[in-house]
C-alpha cells in the first residue's frame, strides 16, 4: 500500500511487515562486538592527529586555521651557525605543540593546511579519558601517534604527477626544457610529463605514439 489512492489487497501490508521481520531474523547480524572484536577501519579514518615534529616549522598555519582554536603552539628562535655561510641563520624551535581533543571537531583543516606534512591522520581512536583535561595531547604524545599513521595511498595512475616529480623531471631534462614547460604550448608540456592524461585539445592533431590514449 503505497498511497491512499491505490490500496492493494487488504492485509497485504500486514503480511509484508511480518515477512520483513522474519527475513531479518534469519539473516546473520552484522554487529561487531567491539571490545572483543577490533573494528575494521579504513586507513583514512579520522581517529587522532599525529605530529611529525621534525617537519614542523612553527608557521602557525594550523593554529590559525583551526575553527575550534584547539591547537596551542609555543616556540623560540635559535641561531644556527652554518660553516661557510656569511652569517648565522635563524630557525624556529618548537617548544610546545598541544592539541586539545576535547575541543577538536576532527575537521582535518590543520592537516590540510600544513605545508610541510607535519600533521597526519591516524585511525587510532581508543584514547578516551576519565578526566576531560587529559584529552590535551602534548607534542610527545602526538609524536607517538606517528607510529600508527598508515602509509599514504598509492598515487592515482590516472592523476597528474606530483609537483615534486614534475619538477625533478623538468630539471633532469635540462634548462631548455624547463623553460619550455612553463609555456602553455601543449605538445611540449606533454613530452615533459608523459603520464599526464589530459592534454589540451589542440594536441589531438599530432600523433602521440609514446602516449596512447585508451579512451579513443
Amino acid at each position: 500500500m503505497s498511497d491512499d489512492g491505490e490500496r492493494g489487497t487488504p492485509g497485504k501490508g500486514l503480511v509484508q511487515g511480518l515477512a520483513v521481520t522474519l527475513k531479518t531474523m534469519t539473516r546473520r547480524s552484522t554487529t561487531q562486538q567491539y571490545p572483543d572484536v577490533e573494528p575494521d577501519l579504513p586507513p583514512r579514518s579520522r581517529g587522532v592527529i599525529a605530529l611529525l615534529e621534525e617537519n614542523c616549522t612553527v608557521c602557525m598555519l594550523c593554529a590559525r586555521e583551526c575553527p575550534d582554536w584547539c591547537i596551542y603552539i609555543d616556540s623560540h628562535k635559535e641561531e644556527v651557525v652554518v660553516p661557510g655561510a656569511a652569517r648565522a641563520r635563524q630557525r624556529n624551535v618548537l617548544d610546545r605543540f598541544d592539541i586539545d581533543f576535547s575541543l577538536c571537531m576532527y575537521c582535518g583543516i590543520c592537516i590540510e593546511v600544513c605545508p610541510f606534512d607535519a600533521l597526519h591522520w591516524t585511525p587510532e581512536f581508543e584514547y578516551s579519558e576519565v578526566d576531560v583535561l587529559d584529552l590535551l595531547h602534548d607534542k610527545d604524545r602526538l609524536g607517538e601517534w606517528m607510529r600508527t599513521v598508515p602509509p599514504p595511498p598509492a598515487h592515482d595512475v590516472l592523476g597528474e604527477p606530483s609537483k615534486e616529480e614534475a619538477t625533478a623531471e623538468r630539471k633532469a631534462a635540462g634548462p631548455g626544457a624547463a623553460t619550455a614547460a612553463k609555456t602553455a604550448r601543449p605538445s611540449v608540456r606533454r613530452s615533459a610529463s608523459p603520464t599526464a592524461q589530459r592534454p589540451a585539445p589542440a594536441s589531438r592533431a599530432e600523433p602521440a605514439p609514446e602516449n596512447p590514449e585508451p579512451d579513443k
Binding site: L14, G17, L18, V20, T21, L22, T24, M25, R27, S29, T30, T31, Q33
Partner: protein, 319 residues
Amino acid sequence: MPIWLDLAIRVLAVVAGFLVLPLVVGQTEHKVMAHMQGRLGPMYAGGYHGWAQLVADGVKFVQKEDITPRDADRRVFRLAPIVALFPYLLVLLVIPLGPGGLVAQALDVGLFFVLAVLGVGVLAVLMSAWASANKYSLLGGLRGAAQLLGYELPLVLAAASVAMAAGTLSLPGIVEAWRPWWLLWQAPAALVFFVAGLAEIRRPPFDMPIADSELVFGYMTEYTGLRFAFFLLAEYVGIVVIAALTTVLFLGGWHGPFADQLGWLWTLVKIFAVSFVIIWLRVSYPRLREDQLQRLCWLVLVPVALAQLVLTAAVKVLT
C-alpha cells in the same frame, strides 16, 4: 499418595512454571526481537549469549529503591502489582498440560473461571492508575480500562464458541473433544481470541495504555524496583497465559503424535510457538491509535465473534 503431598506437588509445579516460563519467554523476546531488528541482543550476562540477562535484571530491580509517591494512595498503590500478577497465577492452575489429568486443578467450569479471573486485570490497571496521583498514569489507566472492558467481549464470545462446539466448559474436556478440522471451523474464533487476548495483556500493537512516547509509561509510570518488576513479570506471564489458552482452546492442546507420552511436550511446543507469534507481532507492527483500537474491537472483532457463534451453533445443530 497423601492428599497434602499431592497438593504440594501440584502447587509447586504451578509456581515453578509461573516463575520459569515467563523468564524463558522474556529471554526469547530479547533475542528474537534483537535478531528481527538486525541486532544481537544481550550477549554478556551469563557468558553464553546473555542467557542470564533477565536474572541480572531481576537482581537489579530488587536492589532499587521502592518509592511510593507522597500523594499516592499508599495501600492501593502497593497492592496493585500483586493484583496484576495474581490472576495469571490462578489461571495457570487450571490449564491442562497433558492427557490423563496432567493439570493442577481440573475445574469443571475451567473456562468460566479463567475468563472471570482474567477480568480482574482491569482492576489492577485502574488501581495503579488512580493511586499513583499522576495524570499520565490516570490517562494510561483510563485507556487501559476502556481497552480491557472492550476486548473482554470478543474474548468471551470467541471462547464461548469453542465451548459450545465442545459442549463443555472444562478445559481438559475441550481439549479432549477437539478434532483437527476444528482448526478450520473455529479459525475466526481463534483469530478473534488471539487478537483480543493480545489486547487483554496490553502487548504491542495494543499497548495504548502504556504508550511510552506519549504517556511516559502509562499506569506504570510511578512504579520502581520490585513493584515495577512485578508489572513486567505480569506482562510476560500474560503472554504465557494467552498463548496457553489459545493452545488449549483452539490448537488442540496436547494433540499430536504420541500424545499419550509426549502430550505435555506438544502443549509446551504450541505455547512457545504462539508466544513467538506474539513477540513477532510486537516487532512488526506499530502501535494502534486509541480510536483505531476501539474501532477494531467493536466493528471487527465483536461482529466476527458473533458470526462465529452463529456458525458454530449451525454446525452443531446440523451434525
